[in-house]
Structures are given as structure tokens and as C-alpha cells.
């Protein structure tokens, strides 16, 4: 390699290493503002006790999107800056901005540049007015089926891996980041879901994470890490009877 080529390589590496860090989010995550005004639909009817799933009678228009919705929620929190005082755009203008937000890297290792969304105060109001646009841009079911961290589902989870996740999630929240967590209990498959962790409360016996569940737009759910048994327990929901789950972080690094 010539001296000039070596110099260029060094300069390129230096530039790559010195990339501008991502600006911190302007405020803490607010469930009533930073989540979508619509929900991911369920493909199954779980009955009153959440334990006897059968296919829904009615057609499902927007289902199996928990992973892309969770990703999009974080992308908007990271990259979108809403300006309610600015004039509204037409659909094409908003579509272009949404694509800039969603097409940015979903890895915190790669900083994103803020994108201003005019005419709205937050994601909740924006998604209420532009539901179809956002549903189309968020991506189809394939995004859930091919999420790059799905492979982890097959492998057992040691107590240490669950403990590491709980403490890493705490650290990420402290740094203003939102971990996205895949929850499953394979091979039972009574739960296979993705949520966004946005707050935590610690006690001597547990860490109570508050999560945004894309299936539930009304209120946060709880994902509780029990310190003694190194176990995550997810809330009872309309699609899960509640109980122990395995958890791993996704949209993180190249493998997850």
C-alpha cells in the first residue's frame, strides 16, 4: 500500500471514529406523547383468560407489527423533533420526513440526525392524523418475522443473561436510551412480542420496568425483573395470561 493510500485510510478511520455523537433527546419519554395513536392488531382471539387462542373471525388489517412499531417508536423519539407552530405539510412532504426518521440507523452506535416534523406537537397527535401514512411506512409483517434478533428465540436463556439484560436496560435508560426488548417463552409460544422499555423503578427485590406495548395504546404495561430468581414477568394482557417470560434486547448491534 502506498504512503498516500495509507494516509487516506488513516484519515478515513479517524473520521469514522470521530463522528458526532447523537444529541440527547430533548425530554424524558412521555407515554402520552411519544407513542402511536393506534395499536398493532391481534391475529388471535385469546378468549377471556388469554389461554385459548383461536384465529379472529374479523380480518386483521394491521397485525404482527409489534417489532416495526417498537422500532419506529424509538426512531421517532431519537430522531423526530416536533414543531407545532410550523405550518402543516401535504402527505408527500410528511411521507418524506417519516422516511428520513425510519430509514436512519436503528443502532445507537450510529448517531442519527434530528428531523423536524412541522405542524404537530408529538408522535401521538401526528399519528392520529396520519395513521395510514405511518402504517404504510412502518413496514409490513415481514419486518417482525425477519427481525435480525429472532434467532435468539431458539436458544435457552441463562439466569446470567436475564440479569445482564435487566442491568443493561437500567444503564441505557439512565443514558437516555430506550431499549427494545423481545419477549417470548419458546417453545411454549404463548408469547412472542416486542416492547419498548422507557422507565424503571428499583426496589431491593425487583426492577419494575415500564414498557410501551404496541398492542396497547392506552397505558404502559409492566415488565418486572425479579432479582432473586433472575426472572422477567410480563403483565397479564388480553393476549397473555401473565407470567414468566424470556427477554432479550433487539435492534442492538449487528446480531440483534
Amino acid at each position: 500500500m502506498s504512503a498516500r493510500a495509507q494516509l487516506l485510510l488513516v484519515l478515513w478511520l479517524a473520521a469514522a471514529c470521530a463522528s458526532t455523537p447523537e444529541p440527547p433527546p430533548p425530554r424524558p419519554f412521555d407515554f402520552t406523547r411519544d407513542t402511536f395513536a393506534y395499536s398493532n392488531d391481534l391475529y388471535w382471539d385469546y378468549g377471556p383468560n388469554g389461554e385459548t387462542p383461536r384465529p379472529r373471525d374479523a380480518p386483521v388489517g394491521f397485525g404482527n407489527r409489534c417489532a416495526p412499531m417498537a422500532r419506529a417508536t424509538r426512531q421517532f423519539y431519537r430522531a423526530a423533533r416536533f414543531d407545532p407552530a410550523a405550518p402543516h405539510l401535504d402527505d408527500a412532504g410528511y411521507r418524506a420526513l417519516v422516511r428520513r426518521v425510519l430509514d436512519a440507523s436503528d443502532r445507537y452506535e450510529r448517531p442519527v440526525k434530528p428531523v423536524t416534523i412541522p405542524g404537530y406537537a408529538d408522535l401521538r397527535s401526528f399519528s392520529a392524523d396520519h395513521e395510514e401514512l405511518l402504517k404504510a411506512e412502518t413496514g409490513g409483517r415481514t419486518r417482525s418475522f425477519t427481525q435480525r434478533g429472532n434467532w435468539r428465540l431458539l436458544f435457552p436463556f441463562s439466569p446470567g443473561s436475564q440479569r445482564d439484560l435487566a442491568y443493561r436496560a437500567l444503564a441505557e435508560l439512565a443514558a437516555g436510551r430506550l431499549p427494545i426488548v423481545h419477549l417470548a417463552n419458546f417453545p411454549t409460544i404463548s408469547l412472542n412480542h416486542t416492547v419498548v422499555v422507557f422507565a424503571a423503578e428499583e426496589t431491593p427485590t425487583e426492577i419494575r420496568f415500564r414498557v410501551y406495548d404496541p398492542n396497547h395504546k392506552l397505558a404502559p404495561r409492566a415488565l418486572v425483573y425479579h432479582r432473586a430468581t433472575t426472572t422477567f414477568v410480563f403483565d397479564r394482557t388480553e393476549f397473555f395470561p401473565g407470567g414468566a417470560v424470556k427477554a432479550w434486547e433487539v435492534y442492538r448491534g449487528l446480531l440483534f
Binding site: 418475522f145 429472532n150 436458544f155 408469547l191 412472542n192 412480542h193 416486542t194
Partner: protein, 195 residues
């Protein structure tokens, strides 16, 4: 004959592919035994540490009780009384499967205020009970009355592997080499429906 053998081999491979992947991991997970405190038996204080002897319920991953066993644990009195309270997974407790002979200043065990008052020793371990066993204790000095600290039984939960798993690991590892790549590409991405 050769055709029949190929069919058997194909059926075996299909059968293996239908099973959950990473046999070694699942085997290891199935062999995990978790110990929960059910009852404290006796306690001593020596060299700035509290020692408690207790019985545990050993359970398999489904929570089924397999057997009872005796354990002994010791921890620093300073950790016991630390404020704010040290979380159960961070407090330093030495747990031994061998219960040593009594040593140090005996600490009476009590399960009520009346038993605490009637205790024959200056130090008392006031045990908090719940439906599934002893949930924790407070270490009390009777005169002058003082709470020296406490421990939740969650700090004594321990995981161990059943020894039968180790001879099986070479076989499961061989299966993993053959089948896991198929599982990763097939089950992980396409067969499990997310909600």
C-alpha cells in the same frame, strides 16, 4: 434396503428439525435446580458475621418440588444493616451445602413478638413467614432494643445444575452442530408468529 435407510434418516432429520433448537442449552436448562428457603433452623454471630442454617426446597424449572436439603449461609453484619438496603442479588452471601458445627454466639429464632420477648439470648432472629415458607428475618438486639438489620430469603436463592446433565452434553453438542443452523434459519424467522 438402502432406500429404507435413507427414509429412516430423512424422517429422523425432519423429526430433529421440528424440535426446539440448541439441545445442549435446553438440556442444561432442564437440569437447572433452584433452591428456595423454606425454614430457618438456627443462627450464630461470630467475627462480625451472621451465620444461618436453613432448609431449602429444591425445584425443577417448572417449579415442581423435588426434595429438601440443608444449607448454611453467612454474611457480614454491616451488609445486613446497610441503608439503603442492598438488593437481594447484590448482597454478598456465602452459601455452603455443608452445614458446619455450631460456632459463635447463639441467636434465638422467633416467629412472633411474644417469642422475641421470651427469647433466651440477647440477639434474636425474628422470622417473617409467608405461605410458601420463611420469607426473611430481622436481626434484633433485645436490650437495648435495636434492629441490627434484616435479610430477605430471596438473597439465598441459588441455582445449581443436576449432575446427570454433564454426561449427556457431548451427545447434545453433536446434535446441535448438525441441526441448529436449520433451526435458526427456519423456526426463528418464519414459523413463530409474533403478536
Amino acid at each position: 434396503m438402502a432406500c429404507s435407510s435413507r427414509r429412516v434418516l430423512a424422517a429422523a432429520l425432519v423429526g430433529l428439525a421440528a424440535l426446539p433448537g440448541c439441545f445442549s442449552g435446553h438440556l442444561y436448562e432442564a437440569a437447572r435446580r433452584r433452591e428456595f428457603v423454606v425454614r430457618y433452623d438456627r443462627a450464630f454471630v461470630a467475627d462480625g458475621r451472621l451465620r444461618v442454617d436453613y432448609r431449602v426446597d429444591v425445584r425443577d424449572p417448572s417449579g415442581t418440588s423435588l426434595r429438601r436439603a440443608r444449607r448454611s449461609a453467612s454474611l457480614a453484619l454491616t451488609d445486613l444493616g446497610a441503608l439503603p438496603e442492598i438488593p437481594v442479588d447484590e448482597i454478598a452471601v456465602d452459601v455452603s451445602r455443608r452445614v458446619p458445627a455450631p460456632a459463635g454466639e447463639p441467636v434465638a429464632l422467633a416467629r412472633s413478638a411474644a417469642e422475641t420477648r421470651a427469647a433466651p439470648t440477647p440477639l434474636v432472629l425474628l422470622i417473617r413467614q409467608e405461605d410458601d415458607g420463611d420469607a426473611g428475618f430481622a436481626l434484633l438486639r433485645r436490650e437495648p432494643e435495636e434492629r441490627l438489620g434484616g435479610l430477605r430469603s430471596g438473597a439465598l436463592v441459588r441455582d445449581r445444575e443436576a449432575p446427570w446433565v454433564y454426561p449427556l452434553l457431548p451427545l447434545s453438542a453433536a446434535l446441535d452442530v448438525a441441526v441448529t443452523p436449520v433451526h435458526v434459519l427456519g423456526v426463528g424467522f418464519f414459523l413463530v408468529s409474533p403478536e
